[in-house]
Amino acid sequence: MADLAKLQQAFVDMLTGLNPELINHIAPQPGLDAKDRAAIYHNAYRIRLTKVLEQDHEMLGRYLGDELFDQMVAGFLSHYPSQDPSLRHFGDRLPEYLVNEPPFSAHGILSEMAAFERLLLQAFDAPDDTRLSIQALQQVPANLWPNVIFTLHPSVRLLCCQFASVESWQALKQADTPPQPELSSPRYWLIVREASLRTAFHPLSHSDYVCLKTIDDGLPFSFVCEAAAGLHQDTEAGTHAVMQLLQKALNSGWLSQYTLPAHMSD
């Protein structure tokens, strides 16, 4: 390996704590010794990436407390060094780390809270798109409705929680005590960047969650109604639930457009 490549590898190995051999490449100078000079970079590296996780996962940080949070950062940094030039992706694998690594893996809520915070970030800088209006939908002839395919706004994220992650996040945000992590049954959430650019989240019923998942999978409206009918064990009740959901989705800007299969549109 050429000298430049060797030097750069030594620098990286010093930063990650793998090997301090870089100090042999550092020229002696008055003031600080080679070890101190390398340490300036080593500390800056850790501090910068710690700050990113603190900003991206503020409520998880409050939930864990300083000591466990620092332990998590150290573990995450050594398992998953940053692989993306953009810092916004550094924490993408934090939920994966928390679900696999003790002591965090013993508490499923931690990974779920981290996942929720990642989804908030994703919604924040998702692509822009139009918001579908009720007026636009009224142009669809009644016989074509079963074939309509809706598109969720690109900022919409759907989350199914096995733990009281979102409730805990909310409590911590208001400096309250989080509830017990266990839930009697799963809870469902929708995260969206509103037209005002504010990131918001809303609780969903199981039926609404399944319907929105069906839309997200790119399936036509008839499949959405079928899914709802199955859950409500009644076609009429299912259709009623879907119409209510559609109303809410249109009012809240959760949909960006609809399409009809090409041979159906005229």
Binding site: A27, A44, S82, P85, D128
Partner: protein, 278 residues
């Protein structure tokens, strides 16, 4: 591929916390510099504001993650994102740092110093050629501050910059604070450095603040420009044809008026000829 960028005058670093100030008060600023990577996202607040601001102000793009000195493979995924952003922003010029920050998959998110060797020169010239060919425009390179020097180095940092300019024709964004920080940390004279850089090789100037830890100083960009850096700028500017000059603040953000006051100080210290542009 070494056409000089236009002279636009005195600018500011555009940061999220100043979006509203700038849109609402339309301050007298000649141009704004964005951090390129902050606009690699598809939508949301950054673009919502930038689309409005770029209607009124020329924009320069300043990257922090290209890692042009890296011996790892060229990251064409990164360059594609940069090129897409360039097309959307239509900047007056683009810049990044004379350093390496990544190696293979590993990203340090720091500006790590290169050794000043013939090997590094040849490597940088080749990388510049690849990057500029891909982006179809010149890339301006900023000097970084450093806290160590290498046994390998065969020349001073300023001789290295001169050699790179002669080999590749590339121009520099001189961060006077970074020169000052390195001068203090390595015990050289900052004016020796500045005076050595060919005048035609200087496309832009950054003025920023740092943190003084006694034994060494760190380029934190979170403090006002210090007196010593103002003095360096004033002295250097007298010897120079007009150069695009900017106040760069990256953290510990003061009220917008404080940055405007620093910008006005830069104008006041620069020669009269720097104040006319267009």
């Amino acid at each position: 591929m070494n056409a000089s960028p236009p002279y636009l005058g005195f600018g500011l670093g555009l940061r999220t916390c100043y979006f509203e100030d700038i849109i609402q008060t339309q301050p007298d600023i000649d141009w704004l510099e964005i951090i390129s990577e902050n606009y690699f996202v598809d939508g949301g607040k950054p673009w919502h504001y930038l689309d409005q601001i770029k209607e009124r102000y020329p924009i320069a793009m300043h990257g922090v993650s290209m890692s042009i000195g890296s011996t790892g493979e060229v990251n064409f995924d990164y360059l594609s994102k940069l090129k897409r952003t360039i097309h959307r922003v239509n900047p007056a010029w683009i810049s990044d740092h004379l350093c390496f920050s990544s190696l293979g998959d590993f990203n340090s998110h720091d500006l790590l110093p290169l050794p000043y060797t013939e090997e590094a020169l040849a490597h940088l010239s080749e990388r510049l050629r690849i990057v500029q060919d891909f982006l179809e425009r010149p890339l301006i390179l900023e000097n970084v501050s450093s806290y160590l020097t290498y046994h390998q180095s065969q020349m001073t940092e300023w001789d290295f910059l001169c050699a790179l300019h002669h080999q590749s024709g590339c121009q520099f964004l001189l961060d006077i604070n970074n020169v000052y920080v390195s001068a203090r940390n390595h015990g050289f004279d900052a004016m020796d450095y500045l005076n050595a850089i060919p005048k035609q090789a200087v496309a832009q100037i950054h003025l920023a603040g740092h943190s003084d830890f006694g034994s060494h100083i760190v380029d934190t960009h979170d403090q006002p420009v210090c007196d010593a850096v103002w003095q360096l700028f004033e002295c250097y500017a007298q010897s120079m044809p007009r150069v695009n000059t900017m106040i760069e603040r990256d953290d510990n953000f003061p009220p917008f008026e404080t940055l405007m006051a620093e910008l006005n100080q830069a104008k006041a210290l620069a020669p009269m000829s720097w104040r006319s542009h267009g």
